[in-house]
């Protein structure tokens, strides 16, 4: 299963016990109305993948979002993939396309400023 960090995702019913662990130990965010989960900066990604891969019996793959355009940043084809540890870095990156834009840094800073208003 692939999880886009910081973005809502659904899970099949996992039972109360697993749900409680997802909330309390893993600190995943849950939106009751929309019934979707989301990783936050507080989420223990290591525990999340351990727990989910155990109950879903499939590996959990994390991908990150491009902070400028919102699309998948494309970790698998990232030129730095051999040194980037998804469990240890913060939740957003840049896609190849945005990274190569001439004013990429300005665009990135503007997005941060917009979001914090």
């Amino acid at each position: 299963m692939e999880i886009l960090l910081g973005e809502p995702f659904r899970l099949p019913r996992l039972g109360e016990d697993v749900f409680r662990r997802l909330m309390r130990d893993v600190r995943l965010e849950y939106d009751r109305q929309k019934r979707v989960f989301r990783t936050t900066t507080q989420t223990d990604l290591y525990q999340l993948s351990t727990l989910l891969s155990e109950v879903l019996k499939e590996p959990i793959i994390y991908t990150v979002k491009c902070f400028i355009c919102g699309s998948d940043a494309g970790c698998t084809s990232c030129e730095y993939s051999n040194i980037c540890d998804r469990l240890l870095v913060s939740q957003n990156c840049l896609c190849k396309n945005c990274l190569n834009k001439e004013d990429a840094y300005t665009l990135y800073c503007m997005r941060v400023a917009e979001t914090s208003l």
Binding site: G6, Y46, S53, E54, C78, I83, V89, S90, C93, Y105
Partner: protein
């Protein structure tokens, strides 16, 4: 120093940790008397200190900083609660109290750091911000429930690349793209380290000084790959020591790397047993809180794994396969006890330990082998049909 010269003055000029950065600014923006203090926690060199100053600046606060390395911190903190600081705020200055590197504060022997800080937090009617490098520190952990916590992580390589490139263009620095890539690769997600390398490379363009500038912190991936592949026992040890990851995280990652590699099963078994001994030790330390013992842990673990695994066969693997050791309510308690006794005497451990710690490893390991081989090994272990049934059930827990 580039790190000072290029210290961003505005929070939106920084890179990485967007959510926590924005969260912290909003915390300060909405701060009211009686609000919890903010605690910024995360590895060094990613901008915690910078953010506090930049956010304060942009919201019109003056920062009163107290650093752990300053011996007079306690005295000065106490006096910051006195009327003189209040009169400062009466004069119209908005003040913010910043306790940087509180984990270092605790390390100092000369005063009751934690109690003092807790008392201070409760009394202060100014916004208080704490920053710490170690989340794993037991004392820092005690502060977590009393604080609004903002977790920071390392900065993704592409964002460091972006930041360096923008500086280089702005300052018209002369450096090749290959060198930038190299700096990013060596930075370990640490922007301070990246800036120091940049400065060093520019100072002597022909040299390979990248390593020197680096605050020696190693990613889990690098550490384990060195551990599995280096032919130098000491190098393997240093790599594991230089990696900040939590000890259990290290054990789990070693585990998942081992089981996903193609080592011969007897070798794998030997390595896994070494690992489960290490795991037991950690849980004992966590239980008894004898944290000092952890100092030798990296050395012990690296030597055990180094001695047990052939070089160059295992690679770091991040697909952590579950191995959580849960005390389930066993339907087969009696049978399991006898399995535990047998396994325990083979492994020279108690039967309880054999069941809780070793059996899951073995079951997982067996689940990766072919059906016939699994049955052959199980039958070598026992001829008892009910034991075989239970063991097969254990193995099945791990099979798809």
């Amino acid at each position: 120093m580039y790190t000072e010269k290029f210290r961003p003055k505005n929070p939106s000029m920084m890179v990485g940790n967007e959510e926590s950065r924005i969260g912290f600014i909003n915390w300060l923006r909405r701060w009211r008397k009686g609000a919890k203090p903010a605690l910024l926690i995360g590895p060094p060199g990613i901008g915690k200190t910078t953010l506090v100053y930049a956010a304060a600046e942009s919201l019109g606060y003056v920062v009163l900083e107290f650093n752990a390395s300053d011996t007079r911190t306690k005295e000065r903190l106490s006096s910051s609660l006195t009327p003189s600081t209040h009169s400062l705020s009466v004069l119209g200055e908005k003040l913010l109290v910043f306790l940087d590197e509180v984990d270092g504060l605790y390390a100092r022997q000369d005063y009751g750091g934690l109690e003092f800080i807790q008392g201070f937090i409760e009394k202060s009617n100014l916004p208080v911000v704490l920053a710490a490098n170690l989340e794993d520190d037991e004392k820092v952990r005690k502060l977590l429930p009393k604080c609004e916590v903002f977790a920071f992580k390392r900065v993704p390589p592409r964002l460091i690349h972006l930041y360096l490139k923008s500086l280089i263009e702005r300052e018209q620095l002369n450096i090749t793209i290959e060198s930038i890539n190299k700096i990013v690769e060596h930075s370990g997600g640490d922007i301070r380290a990246a800036l120091n390398s940049l400065q060093a490379v520019l100072a002597s363009p022909s040299s390979e000084v990248l390593e020197v500038a680096r605050d020696k912190r190693v990613s889990l991936r690098d550490a384990l790959n060195t551990l599995f592949n280096s032919s130098d026992r000491e190098e393997a040890k240093s790599a594991l020591e230089a990696c900040d990851a939590d000890i259990l995280e290290k054990i789990h990652a070693i585990y998942s790397s081992l089981v996903q590699s193609k080592v011969e099963s007897s070798v794998l078994l030997r390595s896994l047993l070494a690992l489960s001994a290490a795991d037991e030790l950690v849980s004992r330390i966590k239980r008894t809180q004898e944290w000092r013992q952890l100092r030798y842990f990296n050395a012990m673990l690296s030597h055990m794994i180094f001695d047990a695994t052939p070089r160059g066969v295992v690679q770091f693997s991040q697909d952590a396969y579950p191995w959580s050791i849960q005390l389930r309510i066993w339907n087969d308690a009696r049978v399991l006890r006898s399995i535990g006794r047998k396994l325990g005497s083979m492994l020279h451990t108690s039967s309880r330990e054999a069941l809780i710690v070793h059996l899951p490893y073995l079951a997982y390991l067996l689940s990766r082998l072919g059906k016939d081989e699994t049955q052959r090994i199980l039958r070598e272990f026992t001829a008892d049909e009910s034991e075989l049934r239970v063991l097969n059930k254990e193995v099945a827990r791990f099979s798809k």
